[in-house]
Structure formats: structure tokens, C-alpha cells
């Protein structure tokens, strides 16, 4: 009797869907991971809503208004209360850009280090799938929830600002460059964070160490926020486009490095 094999290479869509669904089920079963993933957006969102609400209720002091005019000359001429709300609403949007750097990092790190420690990579790599496709599927599995979480948080924030804040605050949150940032830069930042997480995870075996190293990805975003608050950088349309282009370049470079590190033989023989 001659045996017949029924296996073949899976369709790319089936592979990506299967990996994503498996990773999401795995993530949802890990309470620590769910908590670490949802805590930053919840805190940032709650703080933003409270701050905008507080600014709507409490009139700003003269000192606050003078400090604001010094930091953001563009708002001079606006009603001080409106200007303060607009500034706070914008400031928290910058903090929103931290969500795509923090949320997917944890998932991406668990996605590789978790498989390393559970010894599940060898049977996975024995399947007739390309490692590039596998890496892409793993990237997507961490990217999609993060982008969705950020977009949902933005939608809730927008709804809350409309309900609590002034027209200046609503205008600030719905400014085209911020829409562009949420729609374009959030996925780009997420991809960067995910692929950095994967790259780091190929070199270390401890989730905490990987998170500490990966946490450095928030530094440029925080720096940008501080620069904007202190008036050193004005986030106009041109700077948003420049940052988007830089992110695209960084995404490609990091993905290529991750792809180089994510080789079948490396994983099986060198990863420990």
C-alpha cells in the first residue's frame, strides 16, 4: 500500500487568519497580558477626559493663561478658557500616540518569548509555511488589536470632548493633522513597536528584560510631546508628513532586521 500525503502549503490568508486567531485566543487567556495591554490606554483615556472636563468646569488662572500663550503663541487671541481646553485636548492626543508603542510591544514579546519558553516553535516551523509569512502573521496579530484599541480610545475621547469641552477643544481633536496621525501614524508606530518587540525577543528569553529594552521605543514619542509642550517643536502638517515618512523608513528597516533574525535554523539551533 502506498501512503498519500494530504498536506500542502496553506493559502496566505488562511495562514494569517489561523495565526492571528490562535495568538488572540492565547492572549485573551493570559490575564496578565490583557491587563498590561489595556491599562495604558485606559489610564491615558481616563486622564484625558478628566483633564478636559476639569478645564471646562474650572476657569484657568492668569498664570496658566500666560504660560500657555508663552508655550503656544498660536492660541493667543482665543478666549483663555477655550485656549486652555484646546491645549489640553491636543496634549492628550500626543499621549495617545504612546498607546501604539506600549500596547503591541507586550503582545509581540509574549508572541515570540512565549513560544520559545513553551518549545512550540519547532513544530510550528516544521509546517510547510514560510518564516517570512509567519513573521508577517505574528506582526499582524499584535498590530491589529493595538490599532483597534487606539482608534476606539480616540473615538471615546472625541465623543467625550464633544460632550464636555469647548469648540476649540473639538477643533483641536478633529484637526486634519491629528486625524492623519491617528489613521496613518498609529499603524506605523504600532508596526515599529511590534517588530522591535520581535527583534528584541529573538535575543532575550525574559519577558521583563525584553519589555525594558522595548520600552525605549516610547522615548521619541515622549520627547516629541515635551518638545511640543515647551514650544520647541510646532506639530504642523509638514512635520506630521516628515514624521510619517521617517516612520515608514524605520518600519521597513526594523522589519528587515527582524526577518533576518527570524530564520528557521537560527531559531532552532541558536535561540535558547
Amino acid at each position: 500500500m502506498s501512503a498519500v500525503a494530504i498536506a500542502r502549503q496553506p493559502e496566505r490568508f488562511d495562514l494569517v487568519r489561523a495565526v492571528c486567531v490562535r495568538e488572540w485566543k492565547e492572549a485573551l487567556g493570559n490575564k496578565l497580558l490583557v491587563g498590561m495591554t489595556l491599562l495604558p490606554p485606559v489610564v491615558i483615556l481616563a486622564a484625558g477626559i478628566v483633564a478636559v472636563g476639569a478645564a471646562a468646569v474650572n476657569p484657568p488662572s492668569d498664570r496658566d493663561v500666560q504660560a500657555l500663550y508663552a508655550a503656544a503663541p498660536a492660541v493667543q487671541g482665543l478666549d483663555p478658557k477655550e485656549a486652555i481646553q484646546g491645549f489640553i485636548a491636543t496634549y492628550f492626543l500626543i499621549l495617545f500616540m504612546l498607546i501604539p508603542t506600549v500596547v503591541p510591544l507586550t503582545m509581540a514579546i509574549y508572541s515570540v518569548i512565549g513560544e520559545k519558553s513553551a518549545r512550540t516553535l519547532e513544530p510550528l516551523l516544521a509546517a510547510p509555511v514560510g518564516v517570512g509569512e509567519l513573521l508577517f502573521a505574528k506582526s499582524l496579530a499584535s498590530t491589529v488589536p493595538s490599532v483597534v484599541v487606539t482608534w476606539v480610545a480616540y473615538a471615546i475621547y472625541l465623543f467625550s470632548v464633544r460632550a464636555l469641552g469647548s469648540q476649540a477643544a473639538v477643533n483641536a481633536v478633529t484637526a486634519p493633522r491629528w486625524i492623519l496621525a491617528i489613521v496613518v501614524m498609529v499603524p506605523l508606530l504600532t508596526l515599529l513597536s511590534v517588530n522591535l518587540g520581535i527583534l528584541i525577543s529573538t535575543r532575550v528569553n525574559d519577558v521583563r528584560v525584553a519589555q525594558q529594552i522595548g520600552g525605549l521605543v516610547v522615548v521619541p514619542v515622549v520627547g516629541l510631546g515635551i518638545a511640543q509642550v515647551t514650544g520647541r517643536v510646532v506639530l504642523d502638517n509638514a512635520s506630521f508628513i516628515t514624521f510619517s515618512l521617517l516612520l515608514i523608513a524605520a518600519d521597513l528597516a526594523v522589519f528587515l532586521f527582524a526577518r533576518l533574525a527570524f530564520q528557521r535554523e537560527n531559531i532552532l539551533v541558536r535561540w535558547r
Binding site: A7, R8, R22, R119, P123, E265
Partner: protein
């Protein structure tokens, strides 16, 4: 029988270490092929090479009709591997684990479900399909891993220590599964330390330590080293003249007394034993038992593999 796996001077180096050194193998379709060697001999590396998981440093191989290095994805689709560690997704159910792997092997949804059900039933895990694998015993996890490796009906199944750490019941299930696979015409490449298991299951055995030392059937390996021995137990006990008559029979290489029996070594016992029985009966001896004497494969292994040191 057709050859389903062939290697030609297959070699794998890791820096200065030669893990697999010029291995030449030919494995036939439908046979259980044992791959025996001490820890660190390079057995797992050989498996990884043959499953197209790592690339050889030199040499070549053809696995299930596909060329290693050229058709690696096709090789991975045509073979299954049971790795040393079960490597299951412990937070997920038995069902989800198998359906996930079925998808990775390109099985459509209906086939994936049918195969997952078939193998869960075969391994006696169907009733626990919805439970997370983390709640399973070591034996159940190993059965799950075997089910996963065979789910896509591979032509060659590579099993790395499949019964290590299993209780006798689970080990029996695994052995019966291997026999069933052979019955379906599938080839099983069995890496094991369990010599008794190899003796019972394998059609041929390769003794291996970085290179292949010897390949043969278990019986021929024994015969080559120890000849083919038969024990004649006589009642009430053998007499000196019985031993003398036995030694005089044509084809007998050696004979001696041992614990109330005559042990006879002969290269062709099928021809010699009837002559011996007739000679002893005609000489007035009363024969209680005639038993084939098999040295344990362990003795053969130690003599061949340890003799290489």
C-alpha cells in the same frame, strides 16, 4: 518496496563540531526504521535535516521524492515530526491545537475538522477535546503531539523518543499507533533509546553515533554478533552423551550445557534444529522445550555502539 528516503553523505557541522558525518541511508516505504544512538549522537540533528528544518553543510538527501534544499516546503508538507518536547499551546484546547496545525498544513476546514476528530478519537482524547492542554497529563500531551504530527497523513513520520516518560498504557497506545501507521503503508523513522521498543517495532535498525555504524534487521544484528542460538531443555537433565551427539550434528557451530539445557549455536537453525531433535530423540533423550535464544538488543547495541569508543 520503494525507497522513500535516501541520503548521500549527509553532513552537518556546527563550527568545529560534526554532528552528522557523511550519513548514507536508504529507508523503504512502509517500514519502521529505528535510529538508535547515545545522547548527543546527532539523532535530533539528523531528524531536523531530513524534515528540512536546518540545511546540511554538505551531502544531499531525497525525502518522499523531494530534493532537500530545493523542495523544502514540499518535504515539510510530506513528512510529520514528533519533536522531543510536545510543544503544544497549553492554554488552548486539544481541538484548537489540532485544527490550528491542520490549517498550517493546508487542510480545508472540513478536512481539518474530520482529521482532528479522527486523531482525537484514535488517541482516546475525544471526550476531553474542549479542555485546555495544560490540564492534560504528560502521556496525554505526548499523544496529542503524536496526533498533531500525523494529522496531515504524512508519508514519513519522524518520531523522536515517542514513549519517553509515558506510563505503560500510554506507551502501548503509541506503539499500536506506530504499527497501524505501518499497516497504512506509511514510513516511520523512529529515534529511540528504548531498545526493547525498537526490537519489537522496527523492521530495520541503524546504530548511529555521528555516523551510521551498522544497519540491519534486529534478528540479523543479533545473528551476526552472537550466531543463532537454540535452547534444548531435556528431562530430567542432559547427559554428557546428549551433548556429544549434538556437537556431532552437521551445521552445529558450538554447543554447551547451561542450567539443565543444551545451548546450540548454528548459522542456519531452520535446517539444523530438526536434525538435532531427531538425533536427541533417537539417542533416548526426552525433550521438554525447544526455544529460540535471543540476546537482548541492548547487548547488541552495547557491543556495537560502545565498541566504537
Amino acid at each position: 518496496m520503494r525507497t522513500v528516503l535516501r541520503t548521500d553523505k549527509l553532513t552537518k557541522r556546527f563550527g568545529s563540531l560534526i554532528a552528522v558525518d557523511g550519513v548514507d541511508l536508504e529507508v523503504r516505504e512502509g517500514e519502521v526504521f529505528g535510529y538508535l544512538g547515545p545522547n548527543g549522537a546527532g539523532k535530533t540533528t539528523t531528524l531536523r535535516l531530513l524534515c528540512a528544518l536546518i540545511a546540511p553543510t554538505s551531502g544531499s538527501a531525497e525525502v518522499a521524492g523531494f530534493r532537500l534544499g530545493r523542495d523544502d516546503a514540499k518535504i515539510r508538507a510530506a513528512v510529520g515530526i514528533l519533536t522531543e518536547q510536545p510543544g503544544l499551546y497549553e492554554r488552548q484546547s486539544a481541538w484548537d491545537n489540532l485544527v490550528f496545525y491542520a490549517t498550517l498544513y493546508g487542510l480545508g476546514r472540513a478536512t481539518a475538522h474530520a482529521q482532528a476528530e479522527r486523531f482525537l478519537r484514535l488517541m482516546g482524547l475525544w471526550e476531553r477535546r474542549a479542555e485546555s492542554v495544560a490540564t492534560f497529563s504528560r502521556g496525554m500531551k505526548q499523544k496529542m503531539a503524536i496526533a498533531r504530527s500525523a494529522l496531515h497523513e504524512p508519508r514519513i513520520l519522524f518520531l523522536d523518543e515517542p514513549t519517553t516518560g509515558l506510563d505503560p498504557d500510554a506507551a502501548k497506545t503509541v506503539r499500536e499507533f506506530i504499527v497501524a501507521l505501518r499497516g497504512e503503508g506509511r514510513t516511520v523513522f523512529l529515534c529511540t533509546h528504548n531498545l526493547d521498543e525498537a526490537d519489537r517495532l522496527c523492521d530495520r535498525i541503524a546504530f548511529f553515533r555521528h555516523k551510521v555504524i551498522r544497519i540491519d534487521t534486529p534478528d540479523d544484528l543479533r545473528a551476526e554478533l552472537y550466531g543463532r542460538a537454540t535452547e534444548f531443555r531435556l528431562m530430567p537433565h542432559p547427559r554428557p552423551e546428549d551433548l556429544a551427539r549434538v556437537k556431532a550434528v552437521e551445521g552445529v557451530r558450538a554447543a554447551h550445557l547451561e542450567n539443565g539445557s543444551i545451548i546450540v549455536e548454528a548459522p542456519d537453525p531452520k535446517r539444523t534444529n530438526p536434525l538435532l531433535v531427531r538425533t536427541l530423540v533417537e539417542g533416548g533423550a526426552e525433550i521438554a522445550f525447544v526455544t529460540e535464544r535471543k540476546p537482548h538488543l541492548e547487548e547488541v547495541y552495547l557491543r556495537i555502539v560502545e565498541g566504537q569508543e
